[in-house]
């Protein structure tokens, strides 16, 4: 499946923090950049997300703010 989301950045999971409903996942995308994502804890379990996983951070263009 190809996604409409313009931003798809490959990386490696470096931490998974599970709360009762929401979880925080940190993804090292290289060049010293860590991307943080919050998803449901349900999703973390469904995808069996764990440190070391090769993943893609997916971001819709309309969700990117620009600072100058």
């Amino acid at each position: 499946m190809k996604l409409s989301a313009r931003n798809q950045i490959k990386g490696t999971v470096v931490s998974v923090d599970k709360g009762p409903v929401t979880a925080k996942v940190k993804i090292d995308v290289g060049g010293g950049t860590i991307i943080t994502s919050t998803v449901t804890t349900e999703t973390v379990d469904d995808l069996a997300l764990a440190t070391g996983d090769a993943v893609t951070a997916i971001i819709k263009s309309s969700d990117v703010i620009i600072g100058k």
Copy 2:
């Protein structure tokens, strides 16, 4: 001003495409990654966004989907 948004990635504007209401801005953040942002054309004019500008792509953690 410090922002709550966890993801703040520095880069350089490589293209600005202005429609009547919405504009598309592409930002080279290094490592071969281009981030696409859609903002209002009004904002592009207010910030005088142009190719070559040093900018920051700002993304809230709750807007990052993970693919595995």
Copy 3:
């Protein structure tokens, strides 16, 4: 690739409306429900989105408001 987004609803594209930067795509997901998505026109061209295409509408849980 499996996605973290909890909501993935299959349907068929029933219309594609391209503006200069943004496009509006309508997806019939059955049961009389049409889902409307706005994406970049660039994406419509990249995915060659057209009426009749089998697609999936993908929505992050944090983007769903509840009305009661």
Copy 4:
């Protein structure tokens, strides 16, 4: 009040999961589709959201990603 959000899908709450700050609500919208929403736990209490409630899942078009 009429809403600008293009996507308003009627359904029935099938589960409510309350964490300390965030809650996860699942809505059966028919045709075998369950929509998951995360909202504040405060909202769940304010709306007295409970299993069996008739609700509407409201989604802005700009929050719908397309997979093809």
Copy 5:
């Protein structure tokens, strides 16, 4: 219908700018604050949104970034 979205701010439409797909609507919410919203042009037509309309700006808590 009561909405889960925590932020519902009443105001008056002060401008409507219609592009081919997306429209920009400005809402005066008092105290010198103007809120800008982008919606589909289709929605502007459906709600017959026009200058002077009494409206509510609705924002989900997860879409609010904090600057300090």
Copy 6:
């Protein structure tokens, strides 16, 4: 840094509620309006967000739904 986000509303933090992963912050923006934001608890700690802080609520135009 100037932000592309059209909506930047100044206010004062009136409460901070920290869950294990997500936190809820309420901001009094004057005129009787309280804006609620959910951010990561990590962010609350990083910015040392506390009651009484002068902050700005930042909202992208594409995240504002209109009710009429």
